[in-house]
């Protein structure tokens, strides 16, 4: 063991030497000073472990020296013990008041002296260990926060592509950790539908970030390609199940809003009861989780069934994670479902529901510590025209993209029966930024041309059937029957793109195994259809609509081949 270095200050030479001798015999190293000022100077120079000070000394007394030494020591613990022959309790207490840690009575008892020196030295060592541990923790913590900030930056890059700023969305996210355990994503599909996901990962910080990244990637990637939420939620679950360790999962609610059809589909797993508010009768309909959280089951046991609702403009979905229910007031009570429902019912108008929940919650919490992340989302059903697709809101990937490419895709009878090729084909086109800007129109073109090739070409259905409501039903019955009877029919989709990054041309050709048709007469027929579209809402979205979008549309052969040419940037033609 290293010798303990002890500074002694006493103006009485004899006392000083006696004390010094005892300590040296006990194996300690001794430094001596004649008064307080010398002691302070020596302390600065030698940084001893322990200081022993006589109270009464010339030049500077012990109390003042103690004050200065304590100040010099700063955060380090330097025990200061007063040497005194006083027995007056107030005098002794005063010594400790001025910064001393203890006192020793003269004449010295070597046993007590040794015990005190050892005891204070142990305290000093313990204090040093604590300081080192504290410094290590501070250092680790800074490191952790840095890592979380980096993770958050990566996540923000992935997650903030969405359309949370759309006029029919209001939301509140309050992060508990640097990286929030809650995830909120929104994006438009090429057909204009809106997909939203509110997720709550177990834990905060990095474990949550690890799951949130692929979740956002899958959500935005698949939404941009036109997948509905049933496909997306299954894919997200598969991913979460394979990457998250057992015991980690993501509670989530996922919504698909179709503004054209005024309908909404909802998947809920592990999310507390949420509401559908109907503006017509100011009623609240409870939305209840029907599924386990994401990541618990593997793909084979995962259930992707959805709850379907119709919604009128002004109706709204009110969604949240459990954080809002578990928010506490200063007394420790939880906000709970009842207070939430009361807040909604107390709102003066539908418009006021969201701000009322927010203000009621803030008032309840009254700046108390947060337990969990609070995420609150309101989505309103609106008319399609009120929510025109902002090209930037459709999830994007990168720069110039592929400019010169071609692709040919032939589907046989089994594929035609079971598979929709449009998301894949749309995906290829969406890699071209210029085409991404007109994804809605492209979807219409591809959808119409594919439907024509399949229904009229391959399935040989008569489009005139769709003109009456009864025929419309029958048409879809026959469509199903004919699909089941397919044997060696096929459809081939050829695509070719050329462009320079500023403008470009897409050539799409659909060829089918059918008999073709008298296309000149169909075109005339469709033209008349369009004029009567208000009378016959059952058909009419035909070739005429497509030709408004395309530069040209031409039939070939016996009518079983059609070629559409599309230029971008798209010019609206009056």
């Amino acid at each position: 063991m290293l010798p303990i270095r002890i500074l002694i200050a006493d103006d009485n030479l004899v006392d000083r030497k006696i004390l010094g001798r005892i300590l040296q015999k006990q194996g300690h190293e001794v430094l001596d000073a004649e008064n307080g000022a010398d002691a302070v100077a020596l302390f600065k120079q030698e940084s001893p472990d322990i200081v022993l000070l006589d109270v009464m000394m010339p030049v500077m007394d012990g109390k003042e020296a103690a004050r200065q030494i304590k100040q010099l020591a700063g955060e380090d613990m330097v025990p200061v013990i007063f040497l005194t022959s006083m027995t007056d309790a107030y005098g002794l207490a005063d010594c400790l008041e001025s910064g001393g840690d203890d006192f020793l009575n003269k004449p010295y008892n070597p046993v007590v002296l040794q015990a005190k020196v050892r005891s204070f030295y142990r305290m000093r060592e313990m204090h040093q260990t604590l300081q080192q541990q504290r410094d290590t923790i501070v250092c680790h913590n800074e490191h952790l926060i840095q890592e979380q900030e980096a993770a958050k930056a990566v996540f923000d890059n992935v997650a903030h592509l969405g359309c949370l700023s759309a006029p029919n969305i209001r939301y509140l996210i309050s992060p508990l950790a640097v990286f929030n355990g809650d995830v909120l994503l929104a994006a438009r599909q090429p057909n204009g539908s809106m997909n939203l996901l509110l997720g709550d990962f177990t834990g905060h910080g990095l474990p949550a970030a690890i799951g949130a990244l692929p979740l956002a990637e899958i959500f935005y990637g698949m939404t941009a390609k036109g997948f509905g939420i049933r496909d997306i939620i299954r894919e997200v679950n598969r991913k979460m199940n394979s990457i998250l360790p057992v015991g980690f999962f993501c509670c989530a609610v996922m919504v698909e809003m179709n503004f054209e059809r005024k309908s909404t589909s909802i998947w809920m797993g592990g999310i507390p009861d949420c509401y559908l508010y109907r503006v017509a009768d100011a009623s609240l309909h409870t939305l209840r989780s029907q599924h386990l959280p994401l990541g618990v089951f593997g793909d084979s046991r995962f259930v992707d069934s959805l709850q379907e609702y119709t919604m009128e403009p002004g109706d709204r979905l009110l969604l949240w994670s459990d954080g809002i229910l578990e928010a506490r007031n200063p007394a420790g009570d939880m906000f709970g479902q009842q207070r939430l429902e009361d807040a909604i019912n107390s709102a003066a108008a539908a418009e006021m529901i969201f701000p009322t929940i927010k203000s009621t919650l803030a008032e309840f919490q009254n700046n108390s510590e947060r337990d969990d992340d609070i995420t609150l989302l309101e989505i309103q059903m609106v008319l399609p025209d009120d929510i025109a697709v902002d090209p930037k809101a459709v999830a994007t990937t990168s720069d110039v993209g592929p400019m010169d490419w071609s692709f040919s895709y032939e589907l046989g009878p089994v594929s035609l029966r079971n598979f929709n090729p449009l998301p894949l084909v749309m995906h290829l086109m969406m890699e071209v930024p210029g085409l991404r800007m007109m994804s809605g129109q492209l979807y219409t073109v591809m959808g119409e041309l594919f439907a024509n090739a399949l229904e009229h070409g391959v399935l040989k259905l008569d489009s005139t059937m769709k003109r009456s409501p009864e025929g419309f039903m029958k048409y879809y019955q026959q469509r199903q029957e004919h699909l089941e009877q397919l044997e060696d029919e096929w459809i081939r989709i050829d695509m070719e793109h050329q462009g320079d990054g500023v403008t470009g041309q897409l050539r799409v050709r659909f060829v089918d195994s059918g008999d073709g048709f008298d296309y000149q007469s169909l075109q005339r027929e469709e033209d008349s259809d369009l004029l009567e579209v208000t009378k016959h809402q059952y058909s009419g979205r035909g070739i005429s609509l497509v030709s408004q979008i395309c530069k040209s549309i031409t039939y070939y052969g016996k009518g079983n081949e059609v070629e559409a040419i599309i230029h971008w940037p798209h010019q609206e033609e009056e």
Partner: protein, 101 residues
């Protein structure tokens, strides 16, 4: 003790009791409760009569127990839940994974 265990006479059933708040703070004790039991039990009973509250990290611990007990083949009953605990288990649809009595 916030976590207690009880083994049936034949050694095949392990009962785990959790007292107070069932959250991350009992993580180690809960894990030790089933890890320490050798050979592994065939049936598990989780008695939550003394559990006041259960959070999402506890749900994670239940999934870890389920994994330990054989995943889809696990035989785990959760019994004596209070109203709050039952609600949390219901919201999460955990009755699809555990027998809740």
């Amino acid at each position: 003790m916030t976590v207690e265990t009880l083994v049936s006479a034949d050694g095949k059933e392990l009962t785990i009791k959790v007292f107070g708040r069932f959250d991350f703070s009992v993580h180690q004790a809960f894990r030790d409760a089933y890890d320490a039991h050798q050979p592994a039990a065939l049936r598990y009973v989780l008695d939550l009569a003394g559990t006041s509250y259960l959070d999402s990290s506890a749900l994670g611990m239940l999934l870890l127990l389920r994994d330990h007990a054989g995943g889809d083949a696990a035989d785990i009953s959760i019994v004596n839940c209070n109203q709050d605990v039952k609600k949390i288990l219901t919201i999460s649809n955990f009755e699809q994974l555990f027998t809740i009595r």
